[in-house]
């Protein structure tokens, strides 16, 4: 009987190893959906809350990536609050400005303005 030589077989194995398939994304989703169904069913059956539920909630709103963005935005806000760049008005002025309350009524619009409408 003829035989393929050992090198040929080893080459085919090597090729097969390199061609090992990735997990198709839709299959991964199906698998994770099953896992979630099993997990929830089990939690309902035992009646206890999920451990690390805060972590899952955290992942649910975007996880570390979103948290990183929030931290950066908050840090920027704090920095701007403390040292307003030249091109931004000093936020302190807004606060003081609001203290000198003025109402629409103070503008004394009633007479001329309303008459003009009529």
């Amino acid at each position: 009987m003829k035989m393929a030589d050992n090198d040929e077989l080893e080459n085919l194995f090597a090729q097969a190893r390199q061609e090992r398939p990735a997990l198709p994304e839709d299959l991964a989703v199906r698998i994770e959906t099953d896992a979630e169904a099993v997990r929830l069913r089990r939690l309902n059956a035992t009646g206890r809350p999920a451990r690390r539920s805060w972590l899952q909630a955290f992942e649910g709103v975007g996880g570390w990536r979103v948290l990183g963005g929030l931290v950066a935005a908050s840090a920027a806000g704090v920095w701007i609050g403390f040292s307003a760049p030249a091109f931004l008005p000093d936020p302190a002025n807004f606060i003081y400005a609001q203290e000198t309350t003025f109402l629409v009524a103070d503008l004394n619009l009633d007479a001329d303005f309303l008459e003009a409408e009529e």
């Binding site: 398939p21 099953d34 979630e36």
Partner: protein
């Protein structure tokens, strides 16, 4: 030697470099209600099950269903898993292989019964399987091996598992694994040589 370091678990979104929890630990976390553990286990173990199922069956959609079912059984057995007794991957490989065997047994008689009305239904099925596999000489040759030889060769030479782990998966001795692999490789070599001759006639 070839670069064999690429692992299929990298197929889907790698996470940040952190100490990797063991499969055991992740399964325990899943059993305790941690949804993220399921995602990590899917990324880590799903590709292995899929790779073996695809090699065993040579059919993508069947292999996908087998992997989904094997992983489903993993989720279901998680609370009963005893850490440290065996590797989770060993368990999953075994379940995957058993499901593949079941799938073939289910399929064979049905395929022949449902074959179109031709003189020789079996021959047409074989032709179709050969067509599907024509691109991959190894796949065709593997498909002709006895089931246990096929399993042992795939686990050793494509999944690159050590013989003791294969013995655990197949529930046989290491010596029996070695014997299956040796016989399987001899048969593969003969089949590939024969096929080369055939192709000389068929494809000209």
């Amino acid at each position: 030697m070839e670069d064999l370091t690429s692992h299929p678990e990298q197929a889907r979104g790698g996470s940040a470099a952190m100490p990797e929890p063991s499969d055991d630990a992740l399964l325990g976390r899943f059993a305790d209600g941690d949804a993220m553990a399921a995602r990590l286990l899917t990324d880590r173990l799903g590709p292995r099950s899929f790779s073996v199922a695809l090699r065993m069956l040579g059919n993508r959609s069947e292999a996908e269903d087998i992997t989904q079912e094997a992983m489903m059984r993993l989720w279901q057995m998680a609370p009963d898993w005893v850490p440290g007794q065996a590797q989770v991957s060993t368990w999953l490989y075994r379940v995957t292989l058993n499901l593949c065997v079941d799938q073939r047994r289910r399929k064979r008689p049905q395929t022949l019964e449902n074959a179109p009305e031709v003189q020789d239904g079996a021959a047409s099925v074989v032709d179709r399987m050969q067509d599907d596999a024509r691109k991959d000489a190894l796949q065709t040759a593997l498909g002709q091996l006895p089931e246990r030889q096929q399993q042992a060769v795939i686990l050793r030479h494509i999944e690159e598992l050590p013989n003791p782990e294969i013995a655990g998966i197949m529930d046989i001795s290491v010596e029996a694994v070695e014997s299956l692999i040796a016989r399987g490789k001899r048969a593969l070599a003969a089949s590939l040589a024969g096929r080369r001759d055939e192709l000389g006639y068929e494809n000209g």
